[in-house]
Symmetry: C2
């Protein structure tokens, strides 16, 4: 292939923004400067077909390099998915059938190509080489690595020391992923920071087999909408790519303010200088974080849907969530009077209900909610003692409100 | 197959003599009493083609069961041999080429059928099933067992705790051996006591795959001719089956007296009562152990060669080793006078040589030897300070002797 490859003067938007670690950055930089199209390997596990914004950080990096003229090779892990990646896992996973894997793979790619350019992507299925992989090949591959190396990896070491079962099959996973790198002659492999071990096994195996060892490009972890943990489907703190516009916009609006700039950094093309300016104006309180958050939610919704859908989602949010009319004047209740009361007693105490029994009935009917100053509305259950802050409004039924001070 | 199977009244010659442990003896006894031909599995590793008397203990057990009408299935481990059995091993072994394995297998079988009846033996090569074993098969098999189980096995545990490398491939060995049992539908598998783990994995896998789990029949360890360690080629304390008659006979004659009866028990058909009688007469010193040992050496040499060869070997031994004429009268030297002297100084000191220099010359020419009371002759080198006991004779040149007292 004799494609033209662009070599930008300043490489830091590639090697620094949206990057956790490159092994090694110097080698990778030298490769970029050489001006040859690089083979960028990205494997995916079709047992986890849903892409969320956490994965988009890496996909955007691939797209950025594609736009310079490099080649993406997408590996459909239809074989490793049958085993399940043990990385960062604390228990052996159930294996998928081949049929499930195929269905999931299709779904994954539909999402993947919303970010990555399909025309500059070569898709390879592991079954092309593992379908004919023999026991002799397995013996050859497994003889190059030791149980000791693998069990020193943090997740295996923890499970082993706690005497949790580790299937022998799980040792095959990193080896198979590594073998993929050899087959496709990968120059750079991309993965999350929890993939470092697997990526390094690939690098080592290529070296053993006389290839130039691949660069390992690790993307940062995106914190989920809860503001605390890694974005993950199982934790429920994620924004899926196939989320309808209103939900995508709404989930992004629930982001804590302190994550706004990192989302801009990892998920948009807004220049670093502009992001720094946002950060500064929020810290000095010369701008309202809500405005930047709306800009972010609109941007991302437009990427995965379109500008019209993003505008409509924003209007919906403003009308239904943000501006839902509250009376200008309402009774005020001091936080200290109601500290740590369960909701039913709180309603009786503040006069929102005439009795504990009515309070309980209102709550059970779903007629009670807490409205935060940013417009977010939280529903409650009778025994709850939710965290309340000054500025929160409590609504009971259609017309009864109090504001906490 | 509708062969007739004999059911002996007394099973203890089968289940007790030449047996270390059966898992489980009760089940195995019940199987024998059922009167159906059993499928007796014996695998061998063609990376170790030499059979010595240590292996014959098990081969005789197979033969004994064949003579009752049972069926031996000999598995040629042409695939596992490429990995090498990690059992009892303290380091990863180099893998053999397939060509070496084939050559070794032929040599093994030539020896094996000196004991086991070829007509009642079905030979199966692992390549019949492992030649077409796919990665999917490997995944299916490895998913049934855990690293934890395997690393708790003593040899792996020791290597792991000492941080010695264990190739991932070594985990495959017991699984492949176990899979053999499933393929041939083994009823009983035979192995040394160091094979217990591998045999039990086979038993477990058969159960998982809906077969009746095999019985595990473990043979005792035969102590080598040094009287101390397990008979083994690498320790040099072995009697090979392809040993020429004189050497086979001579090696057996070097056996310490306290091993005579166990060799009779494990390697001959001499009845238990006769062996007990021998033991008793040796303990009460009413018989010379040398006579029993000659009987044993003659018996075994006749089995692996023939009666004439055994007689010839015995005559040779008596003439050359045992009765080589010594003068009736010779100078006596007190052991305490020569304690721990190197040979050259000892010769000078005892008058066997006129000087240190002559002593050294005689030794270098091979003209000096120590003759033990049992006729055994030990050659020496100048710096040696060999262990000497009362009754030993030292010869220097043709006619000079001293007897140590």
């Amino acid at each position: 292939m004799t494609s033209r490859v662009e070599i930008p003067e300043n490489l830091s938007p590639i090697t620094r923004r949206g990057v956790s670690r490159i092994i090694s950055e110097d080698e990778f930089t030298a490769m970029l400067r050489r001006g040859q199209p690089l083979r960028l390997k990205m494997g995916f596990d079709p047992s986890r077909p849903d892409i969320h914004l956490g994965h988009v950080v890496g996909l955007r990096k691939l797209r950025q390099l594609q736009d310079l003229g490099h080649q993406v090779i997408l590996i459909v892990g239809d074989w490793t998915a049958q085993i399940g990646d043990p990385s960062g896992r604390s228990a052996t996973r159930t294996m998928l059938s081949h049929a499930e894997v195929l269905e999931n793979a299709e779904s994954y790619m539909r999402q993947f190509f919303k970010v990555v350019d399909r025309d500059r992507t070569q898709v390879e299925w592991q079954s092309q080489w593992f379908g004919e992989f023999t026991l002799a090949n397995v013996i050859e591959l497994t003889s190059r690595f030791t149980i000791n190396q693998f069990l020193h990896r943090e997740d295996f070491a923890n499970r082993y020391s706690q005497n949790q079962p580790i299937a022998i099959t799980e040792m095959l996973y990193p080896l198979m992923q590594a073998y993929d790198s050899v087959v496709i002659e990968s120059d750079v492999e991309f993965g999350g920071t929890d993939q470092m071990f697997n990526l390094l096994v690939g690098r080592e195996l290529q070296g053993m087999m006389g290839q130039t060892p691949q660069q390992c490009f690790m993307m940062p972890i995106l914190v989920g909408t809860d503001g605390v943990q890694k974005m993950s489907k199982s934790l429920g703190n994620y924004v899926a790519l196939e989320e309808p516009p209103q939900e995508m916009y709404g989930k992004l609006m629930s982001l804590p303010d302190n994550l706004i700039t990192s989302y801009y950094e990892y998920l948009t093309d807004v220049p670093d200088a502009d992001i720094a300016e946002m950060q500064h104006s929020m810290e000095s309180e010369t701008a309202n974080p809500m405005d930047f958050k709306k800009g972010l939610a609109r941007y991302i919704t437009a990427v995965f849907h379109d500008a019209d859908a993003a505008s409509a989602a924003e209007s919906h949010f403003e009308k239904v969530v943000q501006r839902r009319d509250l009376p200008d004047d309402m009774p005020k209740v001091s936080l200290s009077d109601i500290a740590e009361l369960p909701m039913n007693r709180l309603l009786a105490q503040t006069g929102l209900a005439s009795s504990n029994a009515e309070a309980r009935r209102l709550i059970t009917q779903g007629a009670v909610e807490i409205i935060h100053p940013n417009g977010e509305r939280i529903s409650v259950t009778p025994g709850d003692a939710p965290e309340l802050r000054a500025g929160d409004v409590i609504r009971a039924g259609r017309r009864r409100f109090v504001r906490l001070v």
